[in-house]
Subunit: 286 residues, 6 copies
Amino acid sequence: MLNRNVETFIGCDKEYDESKLVLFGAPFDSTTSFRPGTRFASKVMRSESFGLETYSPYQDLDLEDTAVFDGGDLELCFGDTQKALKEIETFAKQILDDNKLPVMIGGEHLVTLGAVRAVFQKYPNLHILHFDAHADLREDYLGATLSHATVLHRVWDLVGDNKIFQFGIRSGEKSEFLWAKDHVCMQKFNFNGLHDVVKQLEGKPVYFTLDLDVLDPSIFPGTGTPEAGGVSFMQLIDAIQTISKLQIVGCDINELSPVYDQSGVSTAVANKVLRELILSIDNNLK
Amino acid sequence: MLNRNVETFIGCDKEYDESKLVLFGAPFDSTTSFRPGTRFASKVMRSESFGLETYSPYQDLDLEDTAVFDGGDLELCFGDTQKALKEIETFAKQILDDNKLPVMIGGEHLVTLGAVRAVFQKYPNLHILHFDAHADLREDYLGATLSHATVLHRVWDLVGDNKIFQFGIRSGEKSEFLWAKDHVCMQKFNFNGLHDVVKQLEGKPVYFTLDLDVLDPSIFPGTGTPEAGGVSFMQLIDAIQTISKLQIVGCDINELSPVYDQSGVSTAVANKVLRELILSIDNNLK
Amino acid sequence: MLNRNVETFIGCDKEYDESKLVLFGAPFDSTTSFRPGTRFASKVMRSESFGLETYSPYQDLDLEDTAVFDGGDLELCFGDTQKALKEIETFAKQILDDNKLPVMIGGEHLVTLGAVRAVFQKYPNLHILHFDAHADLREDYLGATLSHATVLHRVWDLVGDNKIFQFGIRSGEKSEFLWAKDHVCMQKFNFNGLHDVVKQLEGKPVYFTLDLDVLDPSIFPGTGTPEAGGVSFMQLIDAIQTISKLQIVGCDINELSPVYDQSGVSTAVANKVLRELILSIDNNLK
Amino acid sequence: MLNRNVETFIGCDKEYDESKLVLFGAPFDSTTSFRPGTRFASKVMRSESFGLETYSPYQDLDLEDTAVFDGGDLELCFGDTQKALKEIETFAKQILDDNKLPVMIGGEHLVTLGAVRAVFQKYPNLHILHFDAHADLREDYLGATLSHATVLHRVWDLVGDNKIFQFGIRSGEKSEFLWAKDHVCMQKFNFNGLHDVVKQLEGKPVYFTLDLDVLDPSIFPGTGTPEAGGVSFMQLIDAIQTISKLQIVGCDINELSPVYDQSGVSTAVANKVLRELILSIDNNLK
Amino acid sequence: MLNRNVETFIGCDKEYDESKLVLFGAPFDSTTSFRPGTRFASKVMRSESFGLETYSPYQDLDLEDTAVFDGGDLELCFGDTQKALKEIETFAKQILDDNKLPVMIGGEHLVTLGAVRAVFQKYPNLHILHFDAHADLREDYLGATLSHATVLHRVWDLVGDNKIFQFGIRSGEKSEFLWAKDHVCMQKFNFNGLHDVVKQLEGKPVYFTLDLDVLDPSIFPGTGTPEAGGVSFMQLIDAIQTISKLQIVGCDINELSPVYDQSGVSTAVANKVLRELILSIDNNLK
Amino acid sequence: MLNRNVETFIGCDKEYDESKLVLFGAPFDSTTSFRPGTRFASKVMRSESFGLETYSPYQDLDLEDTAVFDGGDLELCFGDTQKALKEIETFAKQILDDNKLPVMIGGEHLVTLGAVRAVFQKYPNLHILHFDAHADLREDYLGATLSHATVLHRVWDLVGDNKIFQFGIRSGEKSEFLWAKDHVCMQKFNFNGLHDVVKQLEGKPVYFTLDLDVLDPSIFPGTGTPEAGGVSFMQLIDAIQTISKLQIVGCDINELSPVYDQSGVSTAVANKVLRELILSIDNNLK
């Protein structure tokens, strides 16, 4: 008898029960103010992942040897932000309750808030590691407090001062940079100081949120608000290996908007970054 | 002394006080469930309108001879649908209070609800003329009652039975078509019966909402959910002239999503349709 | 417990055992001589099918009420045509052996040969109904006898004279048109005479192969060799309903090449055509 | 010994001496005011022509049986319009001096003026048959008298009143349409009256200039200023056969701008139109 | 009462009288010999600038605190190069006469000649700082002396030997490189030696012309003639800060051709470069 | 008398007899398993080469001074891999028999096998220098032994152990990397050790095969399987100069797929790389 069509991210085809990591998509971009399209990221990444090798020559590890379940995409309500965030939180909570680690593919950056709410319930001493081109620290944006541009401020509402560590930031309002000085640890432009932060965070529960636009748009043009002057692919891969020693209890990658990169390179990059991230976390759990 | 850069839709450059029609954009697409992008429509239409002639050989009328003010685009909140609709309603109300006629460029089709709310306050006996590929009559969509897929149902909540006249409908859930039989007047696929409806509506206040995807995607591919089997450009132009005898008290065109048509034809079509619509309404007011 | 990600064509999510129709993709385009890319058709069609309604206002039928299993895509060998055709034949044979009807999504048109070989074994009196812009009747092409340009000639090798009925043909070598006069029944440019052919074929087993480029490129630009002067979408939908009375024992649609239509309209058209075809055949089997 | 790479339009590979028609490209678009790109038309048409069959099922004629020489593209000076027109005129004159018929591929429509100047020297009683969406009858455009928007006015400067016959016109300034009434014979929107004009022109030398944007943009989006409401491909093919009885002494097709149609359909359409035009003229010369 | 739609580059919305810098577009590309499209640069840059932050974390300066007036785009004549250059010169002269500094957005590089002519009248000891991939030093190009490929030679006709300083040059004819040795100061490939040149030019009036294709096409693909091997974004930003100490009396950025970069990254880069350039010059004037 | 249209790669327009290098295209991509399209590379490269200068400021050499004949493209059979490889081999053999050096433009990487077979007959002690992102060392791929993913394994079948030197490899199956350790010399990620290899290979016959995807996709997105983390353009140009001292007896560049880079940068890069390669080899032969 024939089997029904199953499509997972390449190499992430284990059963739920035997898995330590659970991959899922959160296709939501309703608050995106400039160019929408991140809702398509998880679907396109899965579809294009068959062009990716499961083996990483960087880490000498193979997705075939990992224990990852791909739960597909959440079906989120567009236009009702509160409702969408709640659905993400509920889904992430289920994964955490089963003692698995949620690996979320956005969507716009706001989806992080849903996952962090779930993780924070389990780990009240949660720290946030944040790679991004944008500070995302506004108090509100065009009158909305829930927005891709305010998400880290909302996360700060939960975790409080000196718990958020940002790297690669190169765009924002002047007021965000000023506010940051008192409340978060921000490294502008690059990953300088990452090793020190990793030392500082050792043993503490860390949620890692990766806005892919931290990458330079030369290698990652497929995003809503590309910001020149970003980090290189190899710098990001190195940084991911650097942080793998941390006790990561949840993570996401977000802000791929495939429609803006007809070449497909951005999706290929996102897929390779996801492979390296999964391999690194999975290996650390062993 | 030099003048600051002003950009209006071509030929719509009169002063507010001397104008009878007020053009404005409502760049909102947060509830779009499939492919977003209609937020860019008004901006791109204005920008490309300098490739359009002001003169219509179809009606032998010229935009240069009309009285239209272009108020630019509203700055709407993404992700908070209630708030965005309120802002549209407020803006349209001001225009109506000044005894002018609002001509709105969407955005997704839900923006119509904001404008209709304002118009309905002034004209409680409001009738709706609706050209579209989709019925847009769902009670809710993925749990949301405010959605591009429910907008005509929400309008029906206001105006009631037998006030909505739909043409060109060729896509929807089975339940929408069933519900329609009891509550609205729906002509599937084409404009058959339009002349009769026009006769029926004569003398009554009519809001005209034009979802451009009523056009066949061969001539209008740049939309979120293209539906083959639509009307031709000339059929739409004829229909617009047919309805110009009505007492139109407000109107909109919506659902252009320029990014999905790299050729620019969809925007050129939207612009020509808007020209014909403005010329037709303006001429009728004389 | 969470479920693994399953992706089927919308509404085609029944179990294999309860299904009468079996949908599958044959992503192969190695002999395409001009512009390749049809290998992506089935994948993209499934992915985009969530923008399609399951209900057809044309036939007042709903995919929800059909019995279709989606078996996903075959993993075919590129560059070894014989091997790929054999795999298609084997797969189709299994479906036929289980007394189900194969509905194949190409791929280039050559994939039809694999399916026809399987169907012909079961139905030696097989007739072929063929909608296409191209005759596909060459004896060989650039030295290859197995090619998208020779596929109907290869089918003729099996079924013989006066078993193949072609409609819509408007491109080919002069020699193909001459050869056709003696061996097949060809209607150039349109569907004239289709009703007569349907009468003639009543009660006989028919394989229906639909090269989507029979459509005019205005509505279907996403194909390798677009040929202006084709039939309209509504003419094709009508033709599909016309042939639904036949005893169709297998069918395919092919030659969608999504990469050549950035607007997505071609994929949406292919999906709607497939919906109408499935609804029509399924309804006839009841 | 190997041969150097020769690239001609498919089937147009005869020697100069044995040819009756001479094909050449005039890649010039410096006066294009909206969207440039027609300079690439001839190059792309040649390159894509290997996807075209040499045989026409419409006329049952084959390019293999014609006598056409393809002289490649002129190397024109961009930015100096007078100079470019002179080079076109000189080249066309040489062809005419050798008693051959020039078939020019634009470029923007202004290139027609260069060819007409040469043809007019040889045929002082020249008549012009003009298919176009635009009247192109302005006296000047943004201060320039030599422009794609003035070209037929410049041609009128040469040939005088009642020598120009326009079909398909659906865009222009009001003043152009008024001026046309006194000086040219203009059929708006379609080909109505073409048979009468052909009768009227029989036996007289005719230059045929075909602005491909006379076609509806649904089938021909790849042009600088697409105008909805145009003629269909089959109407154009029929019109070309209708005029083939005339004594055509020169012709051009222009305004294909391939970059605006990523699907390649516009180029395929232009190529098929050129095939039909060449076959028709060549056949008439026999 | 409502206000008419005003569109300026973000943060450049001061009144003319209170401004020190005047921004304007020169949408001209008639002499572009390879791929046209720079005419769209200024319009698209303004339109996309609302995706840019006004604050620069590189310089800790904000466009909100500058005094820049945006005069919109000149309406230039296409196809008559002399006329277009005269219009640019006249406009720039007016700005200089009002003791303001012209900041021009091209267009192709030839537009620089119009602005330099105006600036040279006011500052006869004018020096030219030129960042570019191309030498642009030809005596003539395809017979034209006014061309994007000759513009620096034409500027040299005005300012004479040893007044032009070029950086980043990596493409040209051999003869250009030879000629350069005697007449200009050329640094190939990069910005080596820029600090020395800045020292040398201190106190002298400098016109700065920035052909954005000096950037590597990895970060700036949207240009007519992309040349691999260019400088990085950060190198360019650093160079702009380096030269800000100079007495810049006019400047331009040119050769963005947005249509060749569907991702929008090139426009975002151009906008960020313009922001940094404006901030740097404005700050120096304080 | 006019000349027929000849199109060669810029500056490669010498007669066959006087040439030392023979350029030709092998447009074949039938085994490409992911995204096809390399078949268009040679055609598009020639067509776009008129945007390239013949002079190299890197090497101070000019294509005008070389002796290169451009034989155009082979007409290869799609879908029959054995046949296509044989045709490439035959063509390359003829060039070698005439004591000229074959310079092949792919096509997918498998075309290298055809050329290497010819070269190996003449030079039994052949060594292979291979720049690539992918190891291409599989024994078979989806059941096929002839594939772009197995090509270097097939070359190894000919030349044997320790004759193949790979650089830049960063993608493959784990088993390929393991196999490589025993049979080839592989440098992962970059060109480290190239100078040593050049020393080692001095005086020996070397075939150089350059898969352009060794470049980082930021500068070369137009390829079937882009792999982030590649070498930069300048690193590749330097490497090409480094190896020019070798006795290169044949070479190819492959895997450009122009359709995936709408900006044209990838083609421009391929053209510049080809220019540098030809200049370097030609200069070494003097």
